[in-house]
């Protein structure tokens, strides 16, 4: 039986404005590529943030690699690309190489110094993601697509077992978005990295993800894309026509 990477049992999270997630029970196995979809405010980002201890869990349990999330500290196993970074300031002085190097700090003990081997590792991941040529450029000077690749390189440089991406394609056009999902798919297969990808785009992600989690504060669907397309619950939710369009974009 494959290893369980993520598990939640009746997970509930609330903000001051009210409950954001209710009764979420999922199990993600090693090698899964899970697309987490749902409308705005459905709790998609809250779920992944709760897993990483970035927001508190009010009820239920959640674990990463079998360790409860509130005790988890093996951060070298996680690669994270958040929803938004404040990098629109074009004079933020970190180069691409410096930015990607920060991803290695999870492997380091205090004082977290990077060695020559670490710099070679950074170069190697930049080459793999086809951004080596811009390694001396400032991160704030890059286009949206290049910036996402660099931040993905940062998330991958520590060779994580679990990659968590929170709406990584929000700033990209539809074509760039599909290429990005495909790239994540390649990484998922080639490196056997488990992927949790939060997105609005349920149609496009279905082409690449092995599983879909549809949230609207509660869990409305969790399974593979074919099941999602056949699901009577999803037909009832979207209407048959919309479900057909969503499932046959590819």
């Amino acid at each position: 039986m494959p290893d369980e990477v993520v598990r939640t049992d009746r997970l509930c999270c609330s903000y001051r404005t009210g409950r954001v997630l209710e009764d979420i029970s999922i199990s993600v196995e090693a090698g899964d590529y899970v697309g987490i979809v749902g409308p705005n405010g459905s709790g998609k980002s809250t779920l992944v943030r709760a897993l990483m201890g970035l927001c508190s869990i009010n009820d239920g349990t959640a674990s990463l690699f079998g360790i409860p999330c509130n005790r988890f500290n093996d951060w070298a196993r996680i690669g994270y690309l958040p929803q938004s970074l404040h990098l629109r300031n074009s004079i933020f002085p970190a180069t691409v190489a410096e930015t990607v190097g920060l991803g290695l700090l999870s492997l380091k003990r205090f004082p977290r110094r990077l060695t020559r081997t670490d710099r070679e590792r950074v170069d190697s991941v930049l080459e793999q993601l086809d951004v080596y040529d811009i390694k001396t450029k400032l991160i704030g000077e890059l286009s949206g697509g290049q910036q996402q690749r660099v931040l993905l390189a940062r998330a991958l440089v520590n060779a994580p077992d679990l990659l968590i991406l929170d709406e990584p394609t929000a700033a990209l056009d539809p074509e760039m978005r599909e290429r990005f999902y495909a790239l994540i798919g390649e990484i998922n297969r080639a490196r056997q990295v488990t992927v949790l990808l939060v997105t609005h785009d349920s149609g496009a992600i279905g082409k690449f993800a092995s599983k879909m989690l549809y949230l609207d504060k509660r869990m409305l669907f969790y399974g593979n894309f074919e099941e999602f397309c056949r699901s009577a619950d999803m037909s009832a939710l979207f209407g048959e026509h919309s479900q057909h369009l969503m499932c046959h974009r590819h």
């Binding site: 990483m52 201890g53 970035l54 500290n73 951060w75 070298a76 996680i78 994270y80 958040p82 970074l85 404040h86 004079i91 933020f92 002085p93 970190a94 180069t95 410096e98 930015t99 920060l102 991803g103 700090l105 999870s106 380091k108 205090f110 004082p111 977290r112 110094r113 990077l114 001396t136 400032l138 940062r154």
Partner: protein
């Protein structure tokens, strides 16, 4: 004006001012890069106002010159942690928390100055700074604290860079962000208290902000940014001391004006190269 540099350098008070001034300028400039990028630029101003209050307490206890640090250092360090706690626990933005602590510091200083009366003149010297009056003992304290701050900065450099880049990403890299934030504000508090004698309470924030923003105009990497900021800090203090001696104008204001000059220069250089690149495309 006719005095040559060797002659100026032969004065003990100039030697002390140059030594302490460059050490403090390096600290403020390097920390300034982190503070500006974290949008905490005005923390220097806030802590300087607290230093005013702390110094007023020290003077009321008849602690003068270097001895006043015994009071102002812990007061300012506690206040810096107070700013941090206010942003974390009271859900206030950084500038609001700085404003609250700053108002508290300055009002405490004014009340104590008004009650004490007799030490108003001493307190005024802290408002505008007087690096040329720095004592050997104060130079020793500045050098010791410089070593401590520089060592801590070097140990926590990558952690500080990580939280400056993105605090959430830093947390998911296993960095204890609350500890690193505390380190940053405590180092700033130490530097502000040291810089008080150099440029005075009124102008401290410019020593933290101006070298950093000049470096941000030109730097092509984070390490280059920190180095350029430190270089500008050193140059402005050294040139400022010589110029103020030669022109008989206040040293602190001269240092700040030189920093403004360097910033304008950096801004123009950046604009020039930006246009050149645009035209070549």
């Amino acid at each position: 004006m006719t005095m040559n540099i060797i002659e100026i350098l032969s004065y003990g008070f100039i030697q002390r001012a140059l030594l302490a001034g460059t050490l403090i300028a390096v600290l403020c400039s390097v920390l300034g890069v982190f503070l500006v990028l974290r949008r905490l630029s005005l923390i220097g101003d806030g802590l300087a106002h607290v230093t005013f209050g702390g110094t007023a307490i020290a003077l009321s206890l008849k602690l003068y010159s270097a001895s006043s640090l015994l009071v102002s250092l812990p007061v300012v360090m506690l206040s810096s942690l107070g700013i941090l706690k206010l942003t974390e626990k009271a859900r206030l933005s950084g500038d609001t928390a700085i404003g609250i602590v700053s108002a508290l510091g300055i009002s405490a200083g004014i009340i104590l100055a008004s009650v004490g009366g007799g030490y108003n003149v001493d307190l005024l010297s802290y408002l505008f700074g007087n690096i040329l009056s720095i004592t050997t003992q104060e130079v020793g304290i500045a050098a010791a604290l410089f070593c401590v701050v520089l060592m801590l900065l070097s140990l926590f450099f990558n952690d500080l860079l990580a939280i400056t880049f993105d605090e959430e990403l830093a947390r998911v890299s296993g960095i204890r962000t609350s500890t690193i934030n505390a380190v940053l504000v405590l180092l700033t508090a130490l530097s502000v208290v040291l810089a008080m004698k150099l440029v005075g309470i009124m102008l401290i924030s410019s020593l933290l902000i101006l070298p950093a923003v000049s470096a941000l105009q030109l730097a092509r990497s984070f390490k280059a940014c920190v180095t350029l900021a430190a270089l500008q800090g050193c140059c402005s203090v050294t040139a400022g001391i010589f110029l103020s001696f030669a022109t008989n104008l206040p040293t602190s204001a001269m240092i700040v004006l030189l920093n403004l000059f360097f910033f304008s220069l950096a801004f123009l250089v950046r604009r020039y190269f930006h246009h050149k690149v645009k035209n070549s495309n």
